[in-house]
C-alpha cells in the first residue's frame, strides 16, 4: 500500500497546484489525501489478512476433521471385511444389507479423500509425480476393470483406441483417479440397457480420452456450473444418483495441473460425453507422424 500512498499524494499535489497557487491549499490537499489513503489502505490490508486467516483456519479444520474421520472409517472397513470373510455363505436380505453397509463405508472414505484432495488443491499442496504413460493401454486396462460393474448395472461398456501408442507425461495415480471418476459417473448416470463408450484418440498434439454415456444428461441451465465445487445438477439429485459434487471439480483441477484440458457435451435425456486431453510426449508424436 506504501507505493499507492506515495502515488496518490504526488497526483494530489499536481492536481492541487493546477487549481491553486496557495502552498497551504496544496499541503492541506496532500495531507487529506494521505490520511484517506492510509485509512482505506489499512482497511483493505486487514480485510485481506482476515480472509487469509479464515481460509487457513478452514483448511486446517477440514484437514484435521478428515484425518480424524478416517480412523473410525478404516475400523469399520476392516471389521466388516473380517465379518464378511466369516460369513461367506450369507445370502438373501442379510447379504444385501451387508453390501449396502460396505458400499456406504467406501463412499464415506471416498468423500473424505475427495475433501482432502480439494484442500490440497486450494492450498497449492498437490505434488505431481509425472511419468511417461502409454495412455491407450492405461485407459483400456481401467475400462476393463469396470466391465463387471457395468454388467452388474445391465449396461454395455465398450473401449476403443483410434491411435496407438499415445504417450503422455502425467502423474499415474492422479490420472487413474480422473479416468475412474469419469467412467464411474458414466455408469452411475446411465440406466439399465444403456451403453458407455470409452475412446482414446489423437487430437492434434494431444491425446484425448472421451467417456460417453447414454444417461440422464445435464440440463442446459446447469451446464455452466458442472465443474464447480459441490455443484450437482438438478436432474441428478432428482434421480437420487449418489454423488458429492466434488468429482468433476477435482477432474478439472487435476487435469489442469498436469497441463491438460477438460470438456463435455451433453443433452438432457440423451447422455453426455466428458473428455480430457493431455499433451503428447514430443518423441512419441514424431513416431506417430512417420
Amino acid at each position: 500500500m506504501g507505493g499507492v500512498n506515495v502515488l496518490g499524494m504526488i497526483t494530489t499535489a499536481f492536481a492541487a497546484q493546477r487549481f491553486s497557487d496557495d502552498p497551504a491549499v496544496v499541503i492541506i490537499s496532500v495531507s487529506m489525501m494521505a490520511a484517506f489513503l492510509f485509512v482505506v489502505g489499512n482497511a483493505v490490508v486487514s480485510s485481506f489478512q482476515r480472509l487469509a486467516d479464515a481460509s487457513r483456519i478452514k483448511s486446517e479444520f477440514v484437514n484435521i476433521v478428515s484425518h480424524q474421520l478416517r480412523s473410525p472409517l478404516s475400523a469399520i472397513k476392516w471389521q466388516l471385511e473380517l465379518m464378511l470373510d466369516q460369513m461367506k455363505m450369507v445370502t438373501g436380505d442379510a447379504a444385501v444389507t451387508m453390501g449396502t453397509i460396505r458400499r456406504q463405508n467406501e463412499r464415506m472414505i471416498a468423500l473424505v479423500n475427495d475433501l482432502l484432495e480439494v484442500n490440497r488443491i486450494e492450498d497449492d499442496r498437490v505434488i505431481l509425480r509425472p511419468t511417461a504413460i502409454t495412455i491407450d493401454n492405461f485407459v483400456e486396462q481401467i475400462a476393463n476393470g469396470y466391465k463387471p460393474l457395468a454388467e452388474q448395472a445391465g449396461e454395455k461398456l465398450v473401449f476403443s483406441a483410434e491411435a496407438r501408442p499415445l504417450v503422455v507425461f502425467a502423474d499415474e495415480t492422479k490420472l487413474r483417479w480422473v479416468t475412474e471418476n469419469l467412467i464411474d459417473n458414466a455408469i452411475r448416470y446411465t440406466k439399465t440397457g444403456g451403453e458407455v463408450t470409452i475412446k482414446v484418440l489423437r487430437a492434434k498434439n494431444m491425446a484425448r480420452v472421451e467417456v460417453t454415456d447414454s444417461g440422464i444428461g445435464i440440463p442446459v441451465a446447469d451446464q455452466a456450473m458442472i465443474f464447480q465445487k459441490f455443484f450437482r445438477s438438478e436432474n441428478a439429485v432428482r434421480a437420487r444418483a449418489e454423488g458429492t459434487g466434488l468429482g468433476l471439480y477435482l477432474v478439472r483441477s487435476l487435469v489442469g495441473a498436469m497441463g491438460g484440458k477438460v470438456g463435455f457435451a451433453s443433452m438432457e435425456g440423451k447422455g453426455s460425453t466428458f473428455w480430457y486431453a493431455l499433451p503428447l510426449v514430443e518423441g512419441e508424436a514424431v513416431v506417430q507422424k512417420k
Binding site: 484425518h67 478404516s74 476392516w78 471389521q79 471385511e81 473380517l82 490440497r120
Partner: protein, 121 residues
C-alpha cells in the same frame, strides 16, 4: 513362525490386524502407544513392525527413528500404517527408513497382508 509387532492405538484396528495375521500363522504382539512400542520391539525382537504415526506418548516418527538406532532392530522392516498421507509425511517416513507406507482407509486387510508377505519375502 514369523513374529509381527503391531504398534497402533486404535483398539478396533489392532483387533482386526491381530485376527487376520494370527489366522495366517504369524505370532502377533501388540503395543498401544509409542513408548510401549519401543519396549515391545526390544523384548520381542519381531521380524517386522507395523507402525501407526499418531500415537500417544511418542509419535510414530520418533519410534521409527529410535528403532532404526538400536542394534539388532535397525534392520527390522517397518511398514507405516497410518491415515495421514501428505507427501511430506510419506517422504519423512521413507527417509527415516520405513519399508512401506499404507493409508489404512484406502487398503483392505487382504492388501495389508499381501504387502507384509511381500516385504518379508
Amino acid at each position: 513362525m514369523k513374529k509381527l509387532l503391531i504398534i497402533e492405538d486404535e483398539a478396533a484396528l489392532q483387533d482386526a490386524l491381530q485376527k487376520v495375521f494370527t489366522a495366517e500363522g504369524y505370532e502377533v504382539s501388540q503395543a498401544f502407544d509409542g513408548e510401549e512400542g519401543i519396549k515391545a520391539a526390544k523384548e520381542k525382537k519381531p521380524d517386522m513392525i507395523l507402525l501407526d504415526l499418531i500415537l500417544p506418548k511418542k509419535h510414530g516418527f520418533e519410534v521409527l527413528q529410535e528403532i532404526k538406532a538400536i542394534d539388532g532392530l535397525k534392520d527390522v522392516p517397518v511398514l507405516v500404517l497410518t491415515n495421514l498421507e501428505e507427501s511430506t509425511e510419506v517422504m519423512k517416513a521413507i527417509e527415516l527408513g520405513a519399508r512401506g507406507y499404507l493409508v489404512k482407509a484406502n487398503y483392505a486387510l487382504k492388501e495389508v497382508l499381501a504387502k507384509v508377505k511381500d516385504i518379508l519375502g
